[in-house]
Symmetry: C2
Subunit: 472 residues, 2 copies
């Protein structure tokens, strides 16, 4: 319903265009996405997570960090006289706003605070195929405890969501940044080299171990601008250590034994041990949960355990749920630290995956039956009958177009995926019947109007799957 001022009569016509990088969701796509979100939120809630919805708009200073991020942030302005010059901006993730809420009003929250949030975020990235400037996130975070039990619960969330979406063949990859960073530093590299090391390691899937080994040994390399800079220049024995390290997949014990002399690494090992033990107690273990010492997830954000989730039937789609521990949550706002761990659902990727795997149990359909009135007297009777069905929780609709031609109305039902048409005209009104036409089976018969509810419930009950979709 519109605002009184929004349309301009007699104005020049405007070409209806959606800006690049943004999209609309038509009914079927919306229903498919809703299926994923409903299942996910149900899982979050079953673990005691609570909803927190932050404003889409924040002060620019709350958001802006690195140059890279600042470039992507959308700023807002309008021309109201009371515009105070405050720099308003659209949020680009759901985590900084969470930190802002907690920092400004910590006493309102019962720690550990477990929250979930579904919401759009905006990033003005350079336009790329398949990348959007507005996308939906569906996050869960546990704030206020650094116990690995919280990270274990995040692993359980991932498992429960995958199961609830009907995904069976998945792997939750698990690592701890202290293991990875501790190992890198043990090679004699400096903290400033960690990111270079991770960028090379990230190429493992693409160029294989041989290619990675060459890059690690290079004494010079070229940066993004083509400038020659110092490479890591690792010696052959150190490269052998790297090989040994990254091949210890699913073997935390071996990592612990092989690198016993690195204390930082051992802290990570202890943390993962607890996560793996607790997850196993809840029934989540290998092959669904796998330790992978090469997993990094981003460059310098996470501080402890990190997770990602691969669908083994379509690994190329990338991780569908990822996250980790970020004990630096509050550092932007406060010197008091507040540890946190969390996860984000890749809604668009998951949607594509479920479509590809044919697991979307939903339709864009909304009603069980269409009333097809052939004239205005019949229309009145249809209003009465439809109301009765709805009172009994049977969703149904009445054809409302002016065109009362039967063919037009049946086409409408077909296009909307409604199989039951209830046709009512002068003849039927006199006989006190309604003509039931099943567009799928072709069945056609008159039923007494007094039997309508009973007959429709029978059909609807026999087609239970469809109904549960509709009523969700």
């Amino acid at each position: 319903m519109p605002d009184a001022q929004c349309l301009m009569p007699n104005a020049q016509l405007i070409k209806p265009r959606l800006p690049g990088g943004f999209k609309d969701l038509l009914p079927e796509e919306f229903a498919a996405r809703q299926f994923i979100l409903d299942k996910t939120v149900e899982v979050y809630r079953s673990f005691g997570f609570q909803p927190l919805e932050t404003s889409c708009v924040e002060h620019l200073e709350t958001l802006s960090g690195s140059d890279e991020t600042s470039k992507q942030i959308y700023r807002l302005f309008n021309q109201e006289p009371d515009f105070t010059g405050e720099s308003l901006s659209l949020r680009f993730d759901l985590t900084v706003p969470l930190a802002r809420v907690l920092a400004s009003n910590r006493s309102a929250f019962n720690l550990p605070f477990k929250r979930y949030q579904t919401g759009y975020v905006w990033r003005g990235e350079r336009q790329q195929k398949g990348r959007f400037k507005q996308f939906l996130q569906c996050d869960a975070d546990i704030v206020g405890t650094d116990d690995p039990a919280a990270d274990a619960e995040i692993v359980l969330l991932i498992d429960a969501i995958m199961q609830s979406l009907g995904l069976k063949n998945f792997t939750i990859r698990l690592n701890d940044r202290r293991i990875l960073n501790g190992f890198i530093l043990s090679l004699g590299l400096s903290p400033a080299d960690i990111n270079s090391f991770l960028r090379i390691l990230d190429k493992l899937d693409k160029i294989g171990w041989g290619g990675v080994a060459v890059l690690l040994s290079d004494k010079t390399t070229r940066d993004e601008n083509g400038q020659e800079t110092a490479g890591l220049g690792l010696s052959p024995d150190k490269i052998e250590l790297v090989g040994k390290f990254i091949t210890a997949k699913d073997n935390l014990k071996q990592i612990a034994a092989d690198f016993a002399e690195i204390p930082a690494l051992q802290a990570g090992v202890a943390s993962l041990r607890k996560i793996i033990t607790l997850a196993a107690a809840a029934g989540v273990k290998s092959p669904h949960l796998q330790f992978d010492p090469s997993l990094a997830r981003g460059l310098d954000y996470y501080t402890g355990p990190v997770f990602e989730t691969i669908l083994n039937d379509i690994p190329n789609i990338g991780s569908v749920m990822s996250g980790g521990r970020y004990d630096n949550l509050m550092e932007r706002f406060s010197r008091d630290s507040l540890p946190a761990t969390g996860i984000s659902l890749g809604v668009d990727r998951l949607l594509a995956a479920l479509q590809e795997l044919n697991l979307l149990q939903t339709t864009g359909k909304s009603a069980s039956a269409l009333f097809v009135p052939l004239d205005d007297a019949a229309l009145e009777k249809c209003f009465s009958l439809a109301s009765e069905l709805r009172i009994h929780s049977i969703p149904c609709e009445i054809y409302l177009g002016e065109n009362k031609k039967l063919k037009k109305q049946l086409t409408y039902a077909n296009q909307k995926g409604i199989s039951i048409c209830l046709i009512l005209g002068e003849v039927e009104l006199v006989q006190n019947v309604i003509q039931l036409k099943n567009l799928i089976s072709g069945e056609q018969r008159n039923i007494a109007i007094s039997d309508l509810f009973r007959e429709i419930s029978k059909i609807v009950t026999s087609d239970k799957q469809v109904v549960s979709d509709i009523l969700v």
Copy 2:
């Protein structure tokens, strides 16, 4: 879960502030709003409405209309090198974007198209107490038919939503702009006078009929800037006609008879007759549905029937669902007209009303029970038991804080509104029992771990209302 680039280590601390005119929703408020939205969407779906979600961001030219609106529109900009100079803006309602989608891709829609949409809109209005710059709308529209049957269905939607929210004492006020405009023109006023007339009529509740009569008779008046301009200067006999007109509440027949010589008005009467007949067939009639000839709803937007909904116990809160027919939907984009009618839920008002009337059947609560582990061995057992309960659809959580002091954990349960605590320590583990503590009744007893599911289901089932809230 955050973006790797969003936080800046060692940066200056930033004050955590939410911009004025924006708000966050804490768990209880979110749950309350969700209760309203779920009920509303369930009703929309039961009538065969389908979800359509448009982008939050539009081209400025798609949105901007009158000066008044343009001032309120938030524009977006960022500093990416590929920024094309396109003027991106945040939508300020859900109707213009609907028109944009239909105009650009009409063949994708099966007309009449019945859509619903829940989404934020943004308006950079001058800041006022209780007015927000970001607010949620929840609209339903029927596009592609000018049959009053569609308007009748909108009336049924309002009634069904009110009933489903537990609101009994409400009035849907109904009028047709052709009746009101036809009458105003019949007084000898020009189309340009309509808005002045409506502005005066709008004061009826505040200054009474006497005050309105004086304003209608004034030969001069002052505009917003204090400039003297021509008033309507109605003669006493015309003012008497106005009095007769506006007092014909709930009496369409009288209006039809008294003003039989005004053809435009008669078109409106015919339309309302059909709406009232069809609504009555579906059980919606006086006193829930009332014709009110003085109802206008905005100045020059609506073209036919208009509706608003008053809660009779708290009329001051204003209309909680309003809308009307706007057959000019597409005029911005196309010379082909596409008739439309629709409604918008006043989410914030309704939330305030349900709170005031004590009708919110929801809690911020998310879990039925809290596991309280007293050490790490107990924690592992709790992970296993909680998983079992969740598999049986009993939402529950485990205390995850590092502090394993019983008092701290019980306080956590209390603050989160969880009444059942399941305490597990060394002693209980040895005896294979768990200590159940009901924080409301004070009951405390040991139960065998093997009986846990059975015992908890008993408690949960006896507290059904709470469970259904939780599981929704």
